[in-house]
């Protein structure tokens, strides 16, 4: 029986807030705060269980290995993957995307091929491809936005006619907050014969993800944006899709037999996990995801949607503010500018009032170029964000505007 969502109760599980009572934390798209449970699991592992994995030399190693593999199962359960073998641990979304771009080059992608990205992508889902595409003679097409800053789905369908071999797009835009119609986009890409990659960095905390229902070939995300530790992330792939990947990293754990005449590789998923993994972090992520799945996810989503709506309403009432996001289909990201003022000035004055937010181009320079903007301010919410915090942030913003551009 799931716990009914209660924001205060949920928030109390995050010790950061008790340690930083002066701060309003609205930078959750960058990283989320951590529940006590995560700290306990990390501490317990290092205090009582620390050992390397997959080296069955002793009982401690066996125990650590079984905890690590349990974490893999917990991750698989969280995103409804068919088996734990579909879960590859990486250091994060960026590492996963780099593995994909490298791993598909030459195996799936050949000179003259196309891949398709969208104008909403984070640098990680652009540069990782660029690094290899140019050298391999693979062209990158980009789905543009409409004048209303929505993904242009008609253009998407047109660009699919170029038969891209790979289509890679975000589940949720880290700048505009909008939730993409991933299901529909995957189906269309499949009809065009493309492999599908979903960058779930922002999507994973938004709503329960079912990768089998989405039917995407790959889904990647970071632990630290979903209440988990830094340094651990997930590359989910269908078995057939993972088989296509050439390993990016070589080393320990990923091999079967090594000789100077050549080496053979281990089975999946270990083949793609060279070197010692972030063991404690993986175990902690598994436990955090299990805990999260036991919360009232629908209630959390509803709470964030209400706050997103509230923030948009409050900001829209301030004449100097220009909103770049809308509250509909928004995962909890509010991006805005101040007429005639540089976002950096506004951010400085908000920082002075202990409001943690992001200003700048949010690792999405091409998107800002397409919007003809130098940058923007971003508030990103989490399920522990309260309306009171938004009120404090609005008041702080009003103070900042009073300093920068007093109304006549």
């Amino acid at each position: 029986m799931p716990v009914i969502f209660n924001v205060e109760q949920f928030r109390r599980q995050f010790p950061f807030f008790a340690h930083n009572p002066d701060w309003v934390y609205l930078d959750n798209a960058a990283t989320s705060q951590k529940p006590q449970l995560m700290l306990d699991v990390l501490q317990q592992f290092y205090l009582e269980q620390n050992s390397n994995i997959h080296r069955g030399a002793h009982l401690l190693a066996d125990r650590a290995t079984s905890r690590f593999e349990q974490a893999r199962q917990q991750v698989a359960a969280f995103i409804q993957a068919a088996t734990a073998a579909n879960i590859v641990f990486t250091s994060g979304t960026t590492a996963a995307l780099n593995q994909l771009a490298f791993g598909l080059m030459g195996t799936v992608l050949q000179p003259g091929d196309h891949i398709l990205l969208t104008a909403l992508e984070h640098h990680a889902n652009i540069v990782s491809w660029q690094l290899h595409c140019q050298a391999h003679g693979v062209a990158i097409d980009v789905v543009p936005l409409t004048a209303e800053r929505q993904l242009d789905l008609a253009a998407y369908q047109q660009l699919l006619k170029r038969s891209p071999k790979v289509v890679s797009f975000c589940h949720v835009s880290n700048v505009l907050g909008q939730v993409l119609p991933v299901q529909q986009m995957v189906t269309l890409a499949q009809q065009a014969g493309a492999l599908t990659v979903i960058d779930g960095a922002q999507g994973i905390s938004y709503q329960p993800v079912d990768v089998q229902q989405m039917d995407c070939d790959f889904y990647v995300f970071s632990g630290h944006k979903v209440y988990g530790p830094t340094g651990i992330g997930v590359l989910y792939g269908k078995t057939t899709a993972l088989e296509l990947l050439r390993p990016l990293l070589g080393g320990g754990e990923m091999i079967q037999k090594v000789a100077f005449s050549g080496s053979t590789f281990a089975n999946l998923p270990q083949r793609l996990e060279a070197g010692t993994a972030a063991i404690a972090e993986a175990i902690a992520l598994g436990e955090v995801l299990l805990w999260l799945s036991q919360q009232d996810r629908a209630g959390m989503q509803q709470h964030k949607a209400e706050l997103t709506q509230y923030a948009h309403q409050q900001l829209a009432a301030i004449p100097q503010i220009e909103l770049f996001t809308t509250a509909s289909h928004n995962a909890g990201i509010i991006t805005f500018g101040v007429h005639g003022e540089h976002p950096s000035d506004v951010a400085t004055l908000l920082n002075e009032q202990c409001i943690a937010l992001r200003s700048g181009q949010h690792c999405a320079m091409p998107l800002f170029e397409s919007m003809a903007l130098q940058g923007a301010l971003r508030w990103s919410l989490a399920a522990y964000t309260t309306q009171q915090e938004l009120d404090i942030a609005i008041k702080a913003l009003t103070n900042a505007l009073e300093l920068l551009c007093p109304l006549p």
């Binding site: 540089h342 976002p343 950096s344 000035d345 400085t348 002075e352 202990c354 940058g375 103070n399 920068l404």
Partner: protein, 149 residues
């Protein structure tokens, strides 16, 4: 009035002198809002450098906002002058706080200036030192190049 280099250098120098005089008072100012208000008022006294007078080579990378720093040396009097501009008002004001400490000094003085110490003057408010000063380190790097050239 059309932009002339000589005029702009001298108006900048005057404005920077005023900033320098006010700095001790500013640091004593109790309320953070008042410090910023005054800082921005002071920055308003600085001439705006038109875009065509901000060469690409003067652009400082590493700032969240764009900033330009131009350096001139008057050989006759052996004095170093700076002109600067930024998209962001607070950045421009902070540049003024930094540069008022070295504007108009001689080659010998510039060579012996400890630029990191000049940054201390920016610690006007509690949070400023940690955040905005980050962009200022790029400015310091640029000044060091001027120092050694």
């Amino acid at each position: 009035m059309p932009f002339t280099l000589t005029n702009t250098i001298s108006t900048t120098a005057e404005a920077l002198q005023q900033v320098q005089q006010e700095l001790p008072v500013l640091a004593q100012q109790g309320h953070w809002q008042e410090r910023y208000r005054r800082l921005m008022q002071l920055a308003k006294q600085l001439p705006v450098i038109p875009e065509e007078h901000r060469p690409n080579s003067a652009l400082i990378e590493g700032c969240e906002s764009r900033a330009w720093l131009m350096h001139y040396h008057d050989g006759a009097s052996d004095q170093h002058y700076f002109l600067f501009e930024s998209d962001a008002r607070i950045v421009k004001a902070l540049l003024a706080v930094l540069l008022c400490q070295i504007n108009g000094i001689s080659t010998e003085e510039l060579k012996h200036t400890k630029l990191e110490q000049c940054l201390q003057r920016l610690h006007l408010t509690q949070h400023l030192s940690q955040s905005r000063a980050r962009g200022m380190t790029a400015v310091i790097q640029r000044l060091k190049k001027i120092q050694t050239s």
